[in-house]
């Protein structure tokens, strides 16, 4: 099980700014280890953010995204106290979902 994400969501005016720090190896599949064998690719392939059951962000990621990715985005139409739920799925099928409260 991967480490939890850190999620921070804050309402400024009518816009919610969400910042997410994920914990993931994000192996490109291009690197070789000390013995020369290729390190298999292991990266987050899709990210979805939901607020009040509605998707506010969907993203398809590839191996070009850095290790422990940082994601920031803004959306409208939520109130203080609402929950923002972020889910990632990686290319090995592992997944992790975490929740943050809009402050």
């Amino acid at each position: 099980m991967a480490d939890p994400m850190k999620i921070r969501a804050s309402l400024q005016g009518d816009v919610v700014e969400v910042k997410v720090l994920m914990s993931h190896e994000m192996e490109t599949g291009q690197r070789k280890d000390a013995s020369g064998a290729i390190v298999p690719a292991h990266f987050i392939s899709s990210v979805q953010a939901e607020c009040n059951g509605k998707a506010v962000l969907t993203a398809h990621w590839g191996p070009a995204v850095s290790k422990n990715p940082y994601l920031a985005f803004k959306f409208k139409g939520a109130a203080k106290g609402d929950k923002v739920k972020v889910t990632w799925v990686d290319n090995k099928g592992e997944t992790r979902t975490d929740e943050g409260t809009i402050a």
């Binding site: 480490d3 850190k6 910042k19 720090l21 422990n68």
Partner: protein, 344 residues
């Protein structure tokens, strides 16, 4: 600063001539002066002030004063190297960060390296935030440190850090066993961190310069002198001129002899020069660039003053300018006016 420099030089001169002649010069430091100076916190927590701060309070302070440079999660690599990251639960149990010896996390973060939590407390209290050091109260320092430790998963999110619980935190620091004194920097008998072995016989061929940049290509990448930092030991050659020619156009030496302008004095006292320079781009734009962009803009003074007070981001790149509420209203207007008049 100047007030003590002259007596010091005088004292040194007198001491060179006759030691007893220095008597009567200066005075013992007062207890208040000593207290203001003696703020270090040692690894055994000697000098640690009483106080406490929660992670929650630290988060508020962090967002207001720290996040603009270090990122919301201490992860930012934008201005400084990251504070947090690269440590694992196993590191915490072992007291030694595995990623420091492997290649798993090439960039070192603060929490990967630091071995004593007192160092973090001391540094935050002494030097942070960058534009207003020593402005955090002891309780605020505890709170910011608690939040930083929480970001690094060293303490839980409901933790309250105080002069007693900080001792337990030391036992959870990821790299607490990572400090050694058994090397040449601490002990002349220790193992040096470099090893130079002189070759005495059967050495390889004498190294020689195999190729050099032709003269016409000297300036191929522009003037290197202008591309280097204006501070520090490396300046870069002035490539607009032949090698060996006298430097021109290089950054001017510090105008020590010239009395600084009133605006500059005020800007320095207000902490502007932590991030801005008159001539050169630092974290923020130079005062010259500001003047160039807003020349002839009648509304510029009010706009810039509002940005100084309320903070700004995006006008000059991604690095945000935090709100400068510690600067008095009148001073902001004076500084902005001075900048728009050319910062002379």
């Amino acid at each position: 600063m100047c007030s003590w420099r002259e007596p010091l030089v005088l004292a040194a001169l007198l001491a060179a001539g006759a030691a007893q002649a220095a008597e009567g010069v200066g005075r013992p430091a007062t207890p208040a002066e000593l207290r203001a100076w003696d703020i270090d916190v040692r690894p055994d927590f000697q000098g640690l002030p009483r106080g406490s701060g929660s992670v929650l309070r630290g988060q508020e302070l962090w967002d207001a004063k720290c996040a603009s440079c270090h990122g919301t999660f201490g992860e930012s690599n934008e201005v400084f190297t990251p504070l947090v990251g690269g440590t694992t639960a196993e590191d915490q149990a072992r007291g030694r960060v595995a990623a420091l010896t492997g290649n798993g996390h090439p960039q070192r973060t603060t929490l990967m390296k630091v071995a004593t939590v007192s160092t973090l407390f001391d540094y935050i209290r002494r030097a942070m935030p960058w534009d207003a050091p020593r402005s955090l109260s002891d309780d605020d320092t505890y709170a910011v440190l608690a939040y930083l430790l929480n970001l690094g998963d060293v303490v839980p999110s409901d933790f309250v850090l105080d002069q007693d619980s900080i001792r337990a935190v030391q036992q959870r620091l990821p790299n607490r066993n990572g400090m050694t004194r058994a090397h040449g920097l601490w002990d002349v008998k220790g193992k040096p961190d470099v090893r130079a072995v002189a070759c005495m016989k059967d050495c390889g061929p004498e190294p020689r310069v195999a190729s050099t940049l032709p003269d016409f290509a000297r300036n191929a990448h522009g003037n290197l002198a202008e591309q280097n930092r204006t501070f520090g030991p490396v300046r870069g050659a002035d490539t607009t001129r032949p090698a060996g020619a006298a430097r021109t156009g290089a950054p001017a030496a510090a105008p020590a002899a010239v009395k600084p302008a009133a605006g500059l004095t005020l800007a320095r006292a207000s902490g502007c020069l932590a991030c801005h320079d008159v001539e050169a781009k630092r974290l923020g734009p130079s005062f010259r660039d500001l003047k160039a962009r807003y020349a002839g803009d009648a509304a510029a003074a009010a706009k810039l003053a509002a940005r100084v007070r309320g903070g700004s981001q995006g006008a000059w790149g991604p690095v945000p300018m935090p709100p400068q509420r510690q600067v008095a209203e009148g001073d902001v207007d004076t500084i902005v006016k001075w900048v728009l008049e050319g910062a002379r």
